[in-house]
Point group: C2
Chain length 508, copies 2
């Protein structure tokens, strides 16, 4: 009996995991049905009535587990659903974050309907066939997938946490940390009220660690953790030529060509290896730590497969791995337009040339400093800068004139990989599901900095969705094995994170 | 009487001009009515029925002056109207070129109708008011304008030549050279059959000099002559990134950014002063002659007014005059496109970036050589060149990949300013209307090279239209004084060019 238990424990990858897995194995149908019920409620952030139905359903589901949830409201915003489970004697408080809203849909692009969950025996693109909900019985094939908006992004964690609570409860094991749950209702709309809500309820929302349950696991299918995200700011750039289009034969070589000016300006900012050429731009960049470098070196290589799939004959950064490159700041030229090309081409010198650029920031850059450095650089290239449409007089009196319209932005965030809390998370997850990919940062931007700024709480990202989940697109889906893994990971975090942390803090 | 005649001669600016001016002064109404009748026939090259009506009207008008015209036909082309007046004892043959077709119209943009000629007392943009055709009497105000499609481009010369013939005839003066008239019917459609017609009728069309009666006079309002035109070729360029758009946060710095590659490539070809940076590109460029340099130096400066009007704070070429700069080859970036800007911007690395470029050629560049030099240069920048959409395998196997799709093109033409024929033209025109602006070349491209290539005949351009004629646009118009000047110039060319030429050839 003891030997059998030990074997089960080892199979499950760590202490206490076996009972969670065993419980799940006998409750798969109920778990998937609870997810499907939640997925059946439309959840675009702007759809206020349905958003309230989602919030209420989540509140009721947590209430059934004895966790009283409240709706945190901010004028004009979907409510955040918040609740807490205090554990007597616990010295740590973990806050689980997920969001219950989803991306808008284009129903015509879906096979089926976005809010009518469908079970399929494998991915649609691999010929997946529909499985009738009636009569499904455990064990379910772990390669089956649930198709619906938000199946992976980001309702799966909300239901996965419930299953983890149920499994621990069934095993008679209490969490070892105080647990808080915070479910946002407008993440896919850009979280316009998140800062407000965090500030208004800071005392309630503070903890020792926030865990962001969002995003996909690594392309290698291994579980992943992310410890940061790049910040972002952006600019719309307009360079001016003659006030009306001029015949390129009669005036070519004499009239200023705005495309040539824009090309020179952009070429002075970054090269085609992604290297940033702006003086002082990287002065604020905090170099990667040894722990981050080690983590990057251990990430399973996916680059050559990805390059092949994307038909890329080379990559930027001299062939360095993707995970290493996204530790650096990036200047992304994402749009350029002037005159016409192809069938729209005319032999005319255009009146203006435009570029749209995003800047991905890393610690310790700030949007303000980036803007300042870029504007200094643009001036050094001989340009006069305006921030609104120039007057004819401004055009006449400037040798080179550019309009810069900056978007808002926010800084990067990065939690140290070797902090005790980070080491505790890593250990808990690896105990549950084995070797895990450690990503010092996401390449993309999410406002992770807010939790540090407003709540002074570190953050770690714990994604569970399959990497091929078609999030944000039609036919979003969740592979069941990813949900099963998620339940074990969440249970491990609830029960193992605090003791691991104590051990890590004690240098063990 | 003799003194009075001499005074009239001097007033007219040269020998024999007074009688032409005097005849015109008493026949202004008939001249303008003959022009208006021709302008009333719609003349877009693709409108076959009306094009035939134009050709027939022109044939009939020249027949009334005793010049038998024939219609030179090429399958699918509007006819060229050709005729000849042989002069006993004449040793030179001059060929007058004009075109009777006009640019397509957008009637809604016109004040009035494009093919219903309107007389106005000054330019529309200066508040010009309509003058009723009934009851106009000579002398007409020379600032009046005729509004209609092709009033200036290019039916005015066809009617101006008729008036010149009439005036000489009334004065009892015969032309001193054989005169040929060639009126094309599809110049505004790009002259697709001109080479065919010239080749098919080369014996008939050869002469000692072709005079191109097309285009506007100098912006200073002074009469102008042009002795060449730049050649042209063009390319559509596509640089490739990933095969699908990628999130610029997750993949920025790693995935190839096609805008960055295009920017580098374009920046390597020309700078923002118009200087061409392609190695060997200018090896074939014939330097300007001393006569051309002198002509350029004598052109009245219009640049600073023009720059002010166009709201340009600087010009390319380090502030050199327009007329000097168009003696050089130009690389004109006239279109660029990739991803989205402004409201269409997305945080995505685009799949491709495109540019559309025209190359203006000068003697002795050829489209073939330009293409070769550009392709060598592009390869030196590390690009593999394809001329059709690349296959996935080509994309995967190329470090940098560009598709180049070249348009057809043709070389420049330039008649020496100091050739005896050129000096004879200049003298005849200056005798008629005074100091004339000598332009060694047009900046724009017209296939002047054809006359040299096919007919081995030099060409000089003799424009008469006002510079503010709105050619190719709505409300095209001709200022009467420009028509009056044109008649005197044409009469001078008919009667004075040959003796001047003999004198120039004899070194007088």
């Amino acid at each position: 009996m003891a030997a059998a238990l030990l074997a089960l424990t080892l199979l499950a990858g760590g202490p206490g995991g076996g009972d969670v897995r065993a419980w799940r194995a006998t409750h798969e149908v109920e778990i998937v049905r609870e997810l499907a019920d939640l997925l059946a409620i439309p959840n675009v952030a702007s759809d206020a009535a349905n958003i309230e139905r989602n919030a209420e359903a989540i509140r009721a589901a947590y209430a059934r587990r004895g966790i009283a949830m409240e709706l945190l409201r901010s004028p004009g915003a979907p409510p955040a659903v918040f609740g807490e489970r205090r554990v007597p004697g616990a010295s740590r408080t973990i806050v689980f974050y997920a969001h219950y809203d989803g991306q808008p849909v284009v129903p015509a692009q879906w096979t089926g309907e976005p809010w009518k969950p469908v079970l399929r025996d494998r991915a649609l693109r691999d010929g997946g066939r529909e499985i009738a909900w009636d009569g499904i019985e455990a064990p379910l094939d772990p390669e089956w997938r649930v198709y619906a908006r938000s199946a992976s992004d980001d309702k799966a964690p909300i239901v996965g946490l419930l299953a983890a609570l149920d499994a621990l409860s069934a095993a008679g094991r209490a969490p070892t940390a105080n647990l808080k749950f915070f479910f946002e209702g407008e993440e896919e709309a850009g979280s316009p009220h998140l800062e407000r809500i965090l500030r208004d309820h800071a005392d309630k929302l503070r903890g020792d660690l926030w865990l962001l349950l969002d995003g996909p696991v690594h392309q290698s299918r291994r579980m992943a953790l992310f410890f940061g995200a790049r910040g972002v700011t952006d600019v719309e750039m307009t360079v001016y030529g003659p006030s009306r289009p001029l015949h390129s034969g009669h005036y070519g070589n004499w009239a200023v060509n705005p495309i040539a000016e824009l090309v020179r300006l952009l070429g002075s900012m970054r090269d085609d290896e992604g290297r940033i050429l702006v003086a002082g731009y990287s002065d604020d960049v905090r170099p990667p730590t040894e722990a981050e470098k080690r983590a990057v070196a251990a990430v399973p290589p996916v680059e050559s497969d990805l390059a092949r799939e994307l038909q890329l004959g080379r990559t930027e950064g001299g062939g360095a791995p993707l995970t290493e490159l996204i530790l650096r700041p990036a200047i992304n030229l994402h749009g350029i337009a002037s005159g016409g090309v192809g069938a729209s081409a005319t032999n005319a010198i255009p009146t203006e040339a435009r570029a749209s650029i995003d800047f991905r920031l890393v610690p310790d850059q700030t949007p303000e400093k980036v803007r300042e450095r870029i504007e200094e650089h643009v001036r050094r290239q001989g340009f006069t800068i305006v921030h609104a449409d120039p007057t004819p007089e401004e055009r006449r009196s400037s040798l080179r004139l550019v309009k810069l319209v900056w978007g808002a932005g926010y800084p990067a965030a990065r939690t140290p990989l070797d902090a005790a809390s980070s080491r505790a998370v890593i250990r808990a997850v690896e105990e549950a599901v084995g070797p895990t990919v450690l990503l010092p940062t996401l390449g993309g931007s999410i406002p992770m900095y807010l939790f540090g700024d407003v709540l002074n709480t570190p953050v770690v990202g714990v994604p569970i969705a399959n990497h091929d989940n078609d999030q944000h697109a039609a036919n979003e889906n969740l592979r069941l094995q990813n949900l099963w893994d998620g339940i074990e990971v969440y249970a491990a975090l609830m029960s193992r994170l605090a003791p691991n942390w104590d051990a890590a803090a004690a240098g063990r």
